[in-house]
């Protein structure tokens, strides 16, 4: 199987803080890969190294068969990045944000591309309003839409659903699945086990600067003691109740 990302022995320190202590993993082309870890585990540092924003102290990183240290321009051609904070321009409208990114990617029909993505991310109505009037969920959707401009083969999403309401969260998940079905590789970081479970073919757990577990969900589950069977009354989670009510309303 062809690899979209290959990281080998990456180390990175900030002053005295040794954040990454030799990180090695591979991501297959066209798959969804989740990097799971608690706050401060070094997930964002890994994303920044793969997106050519940070230079590692040691080790190699290959994205779409280009070395991030040697061919950063080719890597940037191959990727799109959605960082942790919504990197949108507040003073421009949603449409202008998308047109700007399409122009910077030197695409031939920026207005059509913007229109399509606005529709796809349910932002058509708010398209010509300034982003400063958007809600947190709308901002995040625009942010992710901006990363979809140009259809980069490798998509990085750094905690894409942190701070989103359940509906937006599901919408983002659907987008991620659609992209992977089209053959794009999706690399996402998350703090939530259920998100990794929902989406990812392969999961890696980053802890104290090292990958401590790596594999498909079934393999990871084997690492834990076998499940005991207990009978517990099924309680609906608040999220399930919320979604059920909202779906009912929309159906009416």
């Amino acid at each position: 199987m062809e690899k979209a990302i290959h990281m080998n022995g990456i180390e990175k320190s900030y002053k005295n803080l040794h954040v990454l202590k030799g990180v090695t993993f591979e991501v297959e082309k066209g798959s969804i890969f989740a990097l799971l870890g608690s706050n401060g585990a070094g997930k964002t540092t890994i994303v920044k190294i793969l997106a050519t924003l940070l230079k590692p102290d040691r080790g190699t990183a290959i994205v779409n068969s280009f070395d991030v240290a040697v061919q950063p321009d080719n890597v940037r051609q191959s990727i799109s990045l959605t960082g942790q904070s919504a990197a949108v321009d507040e003073i421009l409208t949603g449409r202008e944000n998308l047109v700007m990114i399409a122009r910077l990617r030197h695409l031939s029909n920026p207005h059509q591309i913007a229109c399509d993505l606005l529709a796809q991310f349910d932002l058509s109505e708010a398209a010509d309003r300034r982003v400063s009037t958007y809600s947190g969920g709308m901002r995040r959707r625009l942010d992710i839409a901006m990363s979809m401009v140009g259809d980069a083969p490798v998509i990085f999403l750094d905690e894409p659903t942190t701070g989103l309401d359940p509906q937006s969260r599901v919408a983002v998940w659907n987008t991620i699945r659609t992209r992977a079905e089209k053959g794009n590789t999706v690399f996402l970081t998350t703090q939530y086990l259920d998100e990794a479970e929902q989406l990812a073919g392969r999961i890696a757990i980053l802890h104290e600067g090292r990958i401590i577990a790596h594999g498909i969900l079934a393999e990871l589950k084997k690492l834990f003691p076998p499940a005991k069977v207990e009978y517990v009354e099924k309680q609906l989670s608040l999220e399930e109740i919320f979604l059920a009510i909202v779906d009912k309303k929309e159906a009416m």
Binding site: A51, T52, L53, Q71, Q77, L81, G83, Q84, V88, H106
Partner: protein, 256 residues
């Protein structure tokens, strides 16, 4: 590797410039501060203080216009550093830097925007000065020379603003560097001749950059010979520009 994107240089810069210009025209307070405040100062000094100040010229507006223009530019670049700070904070710079575009385009977009927006406010202030009686016997060459000096001064201050914008820890900090610059014209030959000041202040006034720049602009616009002032004016501008440019790039390389 750079040749890969070379022919996109101007198109990338154009997109960045268009973006920042939209920012300027959509935040009215920027336009008000950069243009209205110096105009108010101009009116205040001409119609309120001007009668009492014996500056040795027929029309006081001719005398103070250069200093007012420098103040406008100094307050204009505060917004350059503010906009830069916001871009770095919000992660927009990270998005740009992870894209296949000319790396320095994001930074140069802000620099060119600073030049264009300051040129607009300078033009508006000169227009108001004309309406209230400013006249210049200087020819086209003198005006071009004056425009050149203002351009150099703007560039020098803009690169100082880049340093402030990239290294500031808070929004307030990003703009704060401009306050001393805005007040520098008061302790110079901008409003009153330096010979009227007490000795210690006079020594400072005569050895700071604003005095030779103001004197050169005033001489050019009134059709007088510029003398040695033009050399120290150019030396100050080019010196500050060079030092600020290299320091700003050093910080930029460290940050991205």
């Amino acid at each position: 590797m750079n040749t890969l994107h070379h022919h996109y240089y101007f198109s990338d810069m154009g997109v960045m410039l268009g973006r920042s210009m939209r920012h300027i025209f959509r935040s009215m307070d920027t336009i008000i501060t950069v243009t209205i405040t110096p105009i108010a100062m101009l009116l205040l000094f001409v119609y309120v203080f001007g009668g009492a100040i014996q500056a040795g010229t027929d029309t006081y507006v001719n005398y103070i216009l250069p200093g007012i223009l420098l103040m406008a530019i100094a307050s204009g670049v505060a917004y350059t550093s503010y906009r830069l700070f916001i871009d770095v904070q919000r992660g927009i710079f990270e998005r740009f830097h992870s894209m296949p575009i000319v790396r320095s385009a994001a930074l140069w977009g802000h620099v060119i925007t600073s030049l264009v927006s300051n040129a607009i406010s300078v033009a508006v202030i000169i227009l108001v000065a004309f309406i209230i009686g400013f006249r210049s016997p200087g020819g086209i060459l003198s005006w071009l020379a004056a425009a050149g000096i203002l351009c150099l001064f703007t560039l020098a201050l803009t690169w100082l603003a880049v340093i402030a914008g990239l290294s500031a820890k808070s929004v307030d900090g990003a703009g704060a560097f401009a306050y001393p610059l805005i007040f520098l014209p008061f302790i110079s030959s901008a409003f009153v001749p330096t010979r009227t000041m007490v000795t210690a202040v006079r020594v400072f006034a005569e050895h700071q950059p604003v005095t030779p720049i103001v004197n050169s602009l005033r001489a050019l616009l009134s059709g007088q010979p510029v003398g040695n002032d033009i050399f120290s004016a150019l030396l100050w501008c080019v010196g500050i520009l060079g030092a600020a440019y290299f320091f700003a790039l050093w910080i930029y390389k460290k940050r991205v």
